[in-house]
Symmetry: C2
Subunit: 339 residues, 2 copies
């Protein structure tokens, strides 16, 4: 910082107060809309605020009083997914309505990255944090407990959360789709997924799926989990890979709709008929499916509701209001004509 430049942030409360001919306390009360001032005083203070372009210093306020800010840390696997994007959008929208500011992190499914992000975030004394998934490092768990800070874990349903959990029941999603595909007469069933990292956010869905097959005495004939970000292209070449290894496959369950759409176009490019030659099922209920000639069989999920519930639960915890420990965001299998 150069010595000549004026203090960043312009004027202070003291300057506003002085200009308005009142004490700092009175000015402070006016700005926080507390009580204890006449409407005449109020007008005088607000006029000076306007004139001086006063911007409150929340750093000082949060530090000086209760040691807690209105900052909230939110960590998601990635920002490029329409599903996580929707959740984050809903969280941010809801939090800002309640007067909180959202600090983000993207851990791309690495618990270590999550932990180092968290350490940096906690130094700002956030009012709470929202994490994705159930896998956290021991360090993460310990530091959260030590800070006794409200935590909401999202995405995966977690019946023994650190604090509060708001998620989808991925196991049931997988199980239900497994049963559905079996019910349509498919028996050479494969799974194609993608995980950038070890945390395995898609794994639970596969487990539910596999269980459904096992309960019917059927084995999943192929499981291909690419080390990649889930997406259209991963679905395309994952399908190529799995079909090249096993020509008997008559149906594929995908990590999500983007991968399913990629797989669908791979199959069509090879002249396969859907669902006669090969059946395809996705997950997520993404918008892209709405324009395809085929109606994709998928599980539609309520990402907006998940985000809103998570943000509301966090705010309730911050305010020490009663909150359900475990909330489930709804999902629904939507039969199309691709299975």
């Amino acid at each position: 910082m150069t010595g000549t430049s004026p203090r960043r942030g312009g004027s202070t409360l003291a300057e506003v107060a002085k200009a308005a001919g009142v004490s700092k306390m009175t000015a402070s009360r006016v700005l926080r809309d507390a009580s204890g001032f006449s409407s005449e005083t109020r007008d005088r203070v607000l006029r000076e605020v306007e004139r001086l372009g006063y911007v409150p210093n929340r750093l000082a306020a949060a530090f000086g009083s209760d040691q807690t800010s209105t900052l909230v840390g939110v960590c998601v696997p990635r920002l490029t997914s329409s599903l996580f994007g929707s959740v984050l959008d809903s969280i941010d929208h809801t939090l800002s309505k309640f007067g909180y500011q959202t600090m983000i992190g993207a851990h791309e499914q690495s618990p270590q990255a999550e932990e180092s992000w968290l350490r940096a975030i906690l130094a700002w004394r956030p009012a709470g944090v929202i994490l994705s998934g159930r896998k956290h490092t021991p360090g993460t768990v310990e530091i959260l407990r030590a800070q006794s800070i409200p935590v909401v874990e999202i995405w995966n349903l977690n019946t023994s959360p650190l604090d509060v959990s708001v998620g989808f029941n991925h196991f049931d999603c997988g199980y239900e789709m497994g049963r559905f595909m079996l019910g349509r007469g498919h028996s050479n069933i494969a799974y194609v997924g993608a995980e950038s990292n070890a945390a395995g956010m898609g794994e639970v869905r596969y487990q539910g799926f596999e269980n459904a097959l096992a309960d019917a005495g059927v084995e999943c004939v192929a499981k291909e989990v690419l080390v990649d970000r889930p997406g259209f292209y991963a679905g395309f070449y994952g399908t190529e890979t799995v079909l090249s290894r096993n020509a008997e496959i008559d149906s594929i369950y995908y990590h999500d709709d983007t991968m399913a759409v990629g797989g669908l176009f791979y199959c069509k490019s090879k002249g396969m008929r859907i669902p006669d030659d090969i059946a395809i099922a996705g997950w997520g209920g993404m918008e892209v499916a709405s324009v395809l000639p085929e109606r994709l069989t998928t599980t539609s999920v309520t990402t907006q509701a998940l985000g809103k519930s998570a943000a509301e639960a966090l705010v309730a915890r911050i305010r020490e209001e009663p909150v359900e420990d475990v909330l489930v965001a709804s999902t629904r299998l939507v039969p199309g004509n691709t299975v």
Copy 2:
């Protein structure tokens, strides 16, 4: 706050210092990895930090010293777009490498929403902010000037930025595509876009496009800008709308690839051949196009590079290093077989 609960954040520097048998200053130096302590002292301090689970209070540090935090505010139109998601991902990744924390906002193209977000963010004395688009309220401009804070405007190229601009040359993108479509012999050319709001982030592209047509003495026969979020479905029904009004249309330029893909499937569903009956062009070079049977004619854009450049430019400005005022992220027309 209940009086019984311990101070959030656990121990303080003073406690660490006392436990280590040194002064606060020495402990502070160790933690900031400054010089001025023996390695023996360092070990003793770090041991106590570990033992006490000390988490530094950046609120106090930022407030007490230079009045500036390592927080950075980043505002984008929305978080559900793969393009903006990619930019944000790249920004966050780059900023965190430099030790900054990202606070987000989503203004969905409303300058007013941007301004109120900005006011809340500036109260945290961020080291800098990144805004999207060129349209800002007078209040936004004034407050930024008054705070004399580093600002990077992204997305739209802006030759007279508030501070620094890193963007795509949308006008050229549109112009180039206009010329390309004309070159392929199309003459009944329409445009289909979508804007949720008045700020009109897609408008410049249209202007370039229209100019290309005008320069060739051709008029754009239809312009349909839906009041909606750009997306697959908006492309689908926007195409339906525009074609129902004008049956002569032989080619359509879309706001982006999602809309183009939506339009493509609408046209195919009506039995039209592409590009013979109707030509289709998008923008963005999105992944979805990689799996279609058609190679979509589009403009591929470097969202990761844009985000990285923007973050780096902001950091340079914060550090008072020399920075180019205007940076252009590259775009490239990629001819496919849909035009």
